[in-house]
Each structure stands twice: as structure tokens, then as C-alpha cells.
């Protein structure tokens, strides 16, 4: 077990290193200089700026320096917002995305799984049909359409939630619902299919023939096995929800990390892009790692190899 976990951690570190390296060199091969757009008064100023950002040094030294800084958790200084560190910018934006992401993840897991259970246990009855229609719609309607529809209905027509920003707690309702909609729909389907499959297994028949109550059969025997594929999906899903969605942050006017990322891309703010990409990558790799380890603990059938 310990060997397995250590191996997984090493793999994760290797993946993160690869991502950093690829992103770093990809950024460097982009034609054009990040300061080309600015009108610099003379060559001396340009040289000074290049020196400050370390452009005057050979590429491999820049790379080693970047790696060194990364290990110490320093993402460098933004190119566009002079003097502000990337850490600070991420630190300002991430809490919004994190709050929304955590709430949305809770919503997704609780609502998605329970709807999936209801739907599977009432297969082909009206509740099942209704939930399936809803989950089909949830995975069909683009998030920005949902978001604008939500704003139009609840903000403009009914005036219940604020149209912009998250200064009030009510401002979080829309983003959480909209971000969670797609994954909720997906998890509902996943849970339903998985439970239906498990219910046909022999051990369920055994459990029933032992005379266990239906509740015990479902909760103890069916759910525990049926939720395994859901756990696999939940890890990367939480990572992607928490790292923010630009569209939803744009529509609801939230200064989150998704917005920062897209802005930095449009502004060609390379250190920001690097910083956020590696931040996302680390986040994703860690969640996947946690899920993988948890999976082995939950499902003893899986061998550590």
C-alpha cells in the first residue's frame, strides 16, 4: 500500500514537471515579445525591462530559475500589471472560485447521487422519466444560456437575486446552480446506470434471499458498489469546478480565477498564464491522486498494481 502511494506520488510529480516544462517552452516559442505592444522610449529601457524579467539570460537558465521559483511556490511577477506578483493575483481571485466550487460540488454530489438513486429504484416510473428528462436537459443546455436565463428570470423579472457580483450571499445562488447543472446531470445518469447494473448482480440476490430488509440491501450492498464509478468521476470534476468557469464568471460578474485566466490570455500576460496553468495542473493532479488512493481504500478488489 505504502509502495503504491509513493509510486503514485512520484508519477504525479513527474506529470507536474512535464506540464511545467511543456508550458514553459510553449510560451517561449510563441513569436513576439510580451512588451512589443508597449512603446518603450529607448533601447536602454528595453534592456532594463528584459533584465528585470530575466530575458537577457539563456533559455536554460531562465528555465532552471523558473523551476527553482516554482518549487519555492513563487510564480513570478505579472507582465501586464507591473509589480504585482502572480501569487497575489491568484490569491485574490481564487477564493471566489473556491467558494462557488465547493458549494457547487456539494450540490452536485448530494443532488446528483440522490436523484440517481431515486431514478434507479423507480426505474421506468414517472419519477425516473422526469429525472431523466431533467438530466438530459441539464447536459444539453449550454452553461451561458442557463446563466443568462437564470439572470433574466430571477434577477430582472422577479428581482430576487442581484444581477451582478457576489457582494451579497444571494449572488452565489446563480453561479453555484449553473456551474453544478452539467455535472449534476452527468452524475445522476452515472449513478442510475451503475445502480441498475449492480442490482442485477448475484450478491444482491443473495442479500435479498438472506432476508435482509430492502433498505439494507440498497444502502449496504448496492450503493457501496454502485458509487465506485461516481467517485472516479468526482475527483477531476471537483478540480474543474473549483478552478472556475470563465463564462459563468463573466455572466455573473465574479472576479474569480477563470476570469483572470482568460484575461491573462487575451493580454498575453505570460507569467500569469504560466502561473495559473501550473496552479490548475497541480490542483488537478493532486485531486486525481487523492481519488486514486481513496479508490484503493474503498474498493479492496483493486490491486495496488
Amino acid at each position: 500500500m505504502a509502495k503504491y502511494i509513493i509510486k503514485r506520488i512520484l508519477y504525479s510529480i513527474l506529470t507536474i514537471w512535464c506540464i511545467i516544462t511543456i508550458t514553459f517552452f510553449l510560451m517561449k516559442i510563441i513569436p513576439g515579445d510580451p512588451f512589443a505592444a508597449e512603446k518603450l522610449p529607448n533601447a536602454a529601457v528595453k534592456a532594463a525591462i528584459s533584465k528585470q524579467y530575466g530575458f537577457d539570460q539563456p533559455l536554460y537558465i531562465q528555465y532552471v530559475k523558473y523551476l527553482g521559483n516554482f518549487v519555492r511556490g513563487d510564480f513570478g511577477i505579472s507582465y501586464q500589471k507591473a509589480g504585482v506578483t502572480v501569487n497575489k493575483i491568484i490569491g485574490d481571485g481564487f477564493p471566489y472560485s473556491l467558494t462557488i466550487g465547493i458549494w457547487a460540488s456539494c450540490l452536485v454530489v448530494i443532488v446528483g447521487v440522490s436523484m440517481g438513486i431515486v431514478s434507479a429504484l423507480r426505474q421506468n416510473k414517472i419519477a425516473d422519466r422526469l429525472i431523466m428528462v431533467m438530466s438530459t436537459l441539464g447536459s444539453t443546455i449550454p452553461s451561458f444560456v442557463l446563466a443568462t436565463g437564470f439572470l433574466y428570470l430571477f434577477s430582472k423579472t422577479l428581482g430576487i437575486v442581484p444581477a451582478f457580483g457576489v457582494d451579497e450571499a444571494a449572488g452565489y445562488i446563480g453561479p453555484v446552480l449553473v456551474i453544478g447543472a452539467f455535472s449534476t446531470a452527468f452524475i445522476t445518469r452515472l449513478t442510475r446506470t451503475s445502480i441498475l447494473e449492480v442490482l442485477q448482480q448475484d450478491y444482491i440476490r443473495t442479500a435479498r434471499s438472506k432476508g435482509l430488509s430492502e433498505f439494507r440491501v440498497i444502502v449496504k450492498h448496492a450503493l457501496r458498489n454502485a458509487l465506485l464509478p461516481v467517485v472516479t468521476y468526482v475527483g477531476p470534476m471537483i478540480a474543474s469546478i473549483v478552478t472556475g468557469s470563465f463564462v459563468i464568471e463573466k455572466v455573473f460578474g465574479i472576479p474569480g480565477i477563470g476570469k483572470l485566466f482568460t484575461e491573462s490570455i487575451i493580454n498575453r500576460d505570460y507569467t500569469m498564464i504560466m502561473g495559473i496553468t501550473t496552479f490548475f495542473a497541480v490542483f488537478l493532479v493532486i485531486t486525481v491522486l487523492v481519488v486514486d488512493v481513496a479508490y484503493v481504500l474503498i474498493d479492496p478488489r483493486i490491486k495496488y498494481e
Binding site: L14, I19, T136, T140, T148, L151, Y152, I265, I273, T277
Partner: protein, 467 residues
């Protein structure tokens, strides 16, 4: 092997066995009574399979055809594709034709009757547009004077003055600000105090206390925005007609939304199909090779897949845009770079289990080359899951395209895709919701159709999975 078997005549024992197994008991009894007679000519056909045997594809198609939902979805997709191809060819406007006079005209018009056959529509910007009774937009009315201090537009139609007074809402707004200030000081607002309430909304008693929030809702939702008078008489809307010139209305530059949605369908569908096709080619070969060879090569190839999939797609998009410039080809390329990994994983997993099966060993023993085994034996066998995953990738590619266009990284103006249309409509959402509604509706319906179709396809290709 199978072919060889068919060409040979079956051995005698087998014939006898088949004859014994024939369904009719009396016939076989008769046959057994004199085993040495020649058979009747007609009996020769007894063992023939009268129906054509179905190939796997035909069998799937048969099952798919019985699934009404997915056939309906297929029809919707076909209709969408055909109209995306053909409607722009003969429609009266092109996607880039603008008419600034007819900007932001909704699909439903409240028209005012001025004369026997003169009708006018007042836009949200208080422009007067002459329309026919059927709803054809004719021309702008002649503007005489734009009185900004009193918030009045004066037009001349047929020699008589048409006056649009839009001060009501603005005065109410001004009043609201004073009332809100009053409420902030902690004083109650009485209905009798509120001038616009007195004038336009009579359900309140004079000394009822109203909150600023209630007042704002009344102001936003109930108050008329403007008052129209023609020849010094106040007139009200005559009737509502459909816009005949622009059936789905026009956007902020006076372009026909219908044709832009249809044109956007071209872009979005093209992106969807191209992305699916490219991913199919790359994913199947990459996954096939990784799965078939296995071992260290597989390990390395799958780590590459892990790394490619953990770099955010946005990054590829940006890099490609910087090199190639924004546009359709960049979007398609960016999606090809990222999406093939899922396909590769699916194909690899399938090939990993298939390569252990006997038919692969048989092919290897017969001396088939690796290339032949992959292309002729393994890939046709993974087509089921691959087709399903392809039909799911089309809507998700369309999603991504819309998303990229929505954040301004998509096709550039005046071209349109569903994402750019929605993005353009976002600005004026509260005043012109129809500009968002139609592209969003068409997009949702198309994606729904693809999803339902791929569900049906999955059931048809693999009936075991059917739940």
C-alpha cells in the same frame, strides 16, 4: 477461414444431421421411411436461409430504426444540416447585410395605426419605423426634432406630427432616486407621495406604506416606457404583428438574426464534424497502437496522453491563435489537439482486451502483418464504442466552439457562430432577449438531438448495455 468453409460442400453426416434437425416432424418421418429414395426437388431448398443474413452494421441500423427517439433526433440533425447548407443560398439577405435603420427590431411588433393604411412601430430606442399592416418594415419616419431636454422625439408622417414622449420612465427613475434616499434615512414611503404610482398604477391606497424595492419592480415591469401621440391625439398600440422582414428579428447592427443563426449553424456543425473526424483518425490509431503493442510503449504513450490532457485546452487555443490567427481553422486545430485523448483511451482499453482473443491469434498464426491485424481485425471490432464516442464528441465540440466564441476567441466578425451570436446578445439581454433566445434555442435543440441520437446509437450498437 469462414470463406473456405462456405465454398466446400458440407460432408454427408452434416447433411443428415441437418435433415434430422428440420422443424417438421412428419416430414422427417416420411424421409426416414425410405432413406434411399431421391429427394423431391422442392426439398432441396428446405435448409436455405430465406432471409438475407444481416451484417453487423445492418443489424445495428435495424435496431436503431426501431428507436423512435433517436430517429427523430436523426431527422432533426439532418434538417439542421440541410438548412445550414441550403437556406443561406437562397435567403433574401446575407449574414453580413446591415441596415442600421432597422437595428434591434424584434420578431413581434406592437404597431400603431396612424392612417387608413399607415402603421408605425416604435423601437426600444424610440425610433419610429413605418411598417405595413402585415409587418413588413418599410422605412424610417422623417425625424423633425430630437428634444433631449424634454425627452421627446418629433417625427412627421403624412404631413402630420408624430410625437413620442419618453420622459415618463425617466421622471419615474429620478423620483425613485429621491425616494430611495428617503428610505435610507429611515422614513416610510406613502403611496400617495409617489407621483408615478398615482398616475399609472391605481391598486394602492394613498396612505399605504410601500418599500423602494416594490416600487422599483412596479416601475421596471408595469410603467409604460413612452407615450405616442399622432396629430395631437394620444394613440395606443393597434395590434401585434409578426415581423415579416426579419422573421427572428434583427441584431444591433440591423442584420437578420435568422440568417445569422443558419450561417452560425454552418460554422458550429462544421467545427463539430471536423473535430469528431480528426479525433477519430488520431485517436483510433494512437489508441490502437498503444493497446496492441502494450508494455513499455503503451506506458509511454499513455503518459503522453495524461500530460496532453492535463494542460488546459485554453492554453493550446491561445498558442494556436497566436500562430495561426483567430478563426475556424484555429478552433478546429485546438480541439484536435486536445480531444483525441479520450478517443485514444477508449480505443486502447478495447484493443487491450481484444488482442487476447482467438481471432487475433489466428490472424497472427496465418502470418498477417501487424498493420493488417490492426486495420482489418482490431479496429473494425472497436467501431461500436468509437462511433458512440464520436457522436458524443460532436455536441461537445460544438459546446467548446460556442464557449470559445463566447469569450471572444472564436470566429471573427462579421462571421457568426452560435457562440458569437449569444455573446453579442448578452449585452442587450434585458432589452432584446429574443436576440439570445433564438440562437440559444437552436443550439440547445441541436445538441439535444445529438445527445439523444448518440444514446440510441449506443443502445443499437451494444444491446447488452440497454437499460
Amino acid at each position: 477461414m469462414a470463406k473456405l468453409h462456405q465454398t466446400k460442400t458440407p460432408p454427408i453426416q452434416e447433411q443428415v444431421l441437418q435433415a434430422q434437425a428440420s422443424p417438421s416432424a412428419s416430414e422427417s418421418a416420411e424421409y426416414m421411411s425410405n432413406p434411399w429414395d431421391f429427394l423431391d426437388e422442392s426439398r432441396k431448398d428446405a435448409e436455405e436461409i430465406s432471409r438475407k443474413s444481416l451484417t453487423y452494421a445492418q443489424d445495428c441500423w435495424f435496431r436503431l430504426r426501431r428507436n423512435k427517439t433517436s430517429m427523430l433526433a436523426l431527422c432533426v440533425i439532418a434538417l439542421m444540416v440541410l438548412s445550414a447548407i441550403f437556406i443561406p443560398l437562397f435567403w433574401g439577405y446575407s449574414y453580413e447585410d446591415q441596415n442600421l435603420n432597422f437595428a434591434n427590431i424584434p420578431p413581434k411588433l406592437d404597431i400603431y395605426q396612424l392612417d387608413e393604411d399607415t402603421y408605425v412601430y416604435i423601437t426600444k430606442e424610440y425610433k419610429a419605423v413605418l411598417v405595413s399592416e402585415k409587418g413588413d418594415l418599410l422605412e424610417m419616419a422623417q425625424l423633425v426634432n430630437d428634444d433631449k431636454t424634454n425627452r421627446i422625439y418629433r417625427y412627421e408622417v403624412g404631413g402630420k406630427p408624430l410625437v413620442i414622449d419618453y420622459s415618463i420612465y425617466f421622471n419615474a427613475r429620478k423620483e425613485m432616486q429621491q425616494l430611495e434616499a428617503l428610505e435610507r434615512k429611515g422614513k416610510d414611503i406613502l403611496a400617495g407621495q409617489v407621483r408615478f404610482l398615482q398616475k399609472y398604477e391605481h391598486s394602492w391606497e394613498k396612505d399605504d406604506v410601500v418599500s423602494a424595492h416594490e416600487l422599483e419592480l412596479i416601475m421596471e415591469n408595469k410603467l409604460t416606457r413612452f407615450e405616442v401621440s399622432y396629430d395631437s391625439q394620444v394613440i395606443t398600440a393597434h395590434k401585434t404583428v409578426s415581423n415579416h422582414t426579419y422573421i427572428w428579428g434583427s441584431d444591433s447592427l440591423g442584420r437578420d438574426i435568422f440568417i445569422r443563426v443558419m450561417y452560425g449553424a454552418r460554422m458550429s456543425l462544421l467545427v463539430g464534424f471536423m473535430a469528431a473526424l480528426i479525433n477519430f483518425v488520431i485517436g483510433v490509431f494512437y489508441g490502437g497502437i498503444a493497446g496492441y503493442f502494450g508494455g513499455r510503449l503503451d506506458n509511454v504513450m499513455m503518459r503522453v496522453v495524461d500530460i496532453v490532457s492535463s494542460i488546459p485546452m485554453m492554453l493550446y487555443v491561445i498558442l494556436i491563435m497566436v500562430v495561426l490567427g483567430p478563426g475556424l481553422q484555429s478552433i478546429i486545430l485546438a480541439m484536435s489537439v486536445t480531444y483525441w485523448v479520450d478517443m485514444a483511451r477508449i480505443v486502447r482499453a478495447q484493443v487491450l482486451s481484444l488482442r487476447e482473443q482467438e481471432f487475433v491469434m489466428a490472424a497472427q498464426l496465418l502470418g498477417a502483418s501487424t498493420k493488417r491485424i490492426l486495420i482489418k481485425h482490431l479496429i473494425p471490432n472497436v467501431m461500436g464504442p468509437v462511433m458512440v464516442s464520436m457522436s458524443m464528441q460532436i455536441p461537445s465540440a460544438m459546446f467548446t466552439e460556442a464557449f470559445l466564441s463566447f469569450i471572444g476567441l472564436g470566429v471573427s466578425a462579421p462571421q457568426a457562430s452560435w457562440g458569437t451570436l449569444c455573446n453579442d446578445a448578452l449585452m442587450g439581454l434585458s432589452s432584446y432577449p429574443y436576440q439570445m433566445f433564438y440562437p440559444a434555442l437552436v443550439m440547445s435543440i441541436t445538441i439535444l438531438a445529438f445527445n439523444l441520437f448518440s444514446d440510441g446509437l449506443r443502445d443499437a450498437l451494444d444491446p447488452k448495455l440497454r437499460k
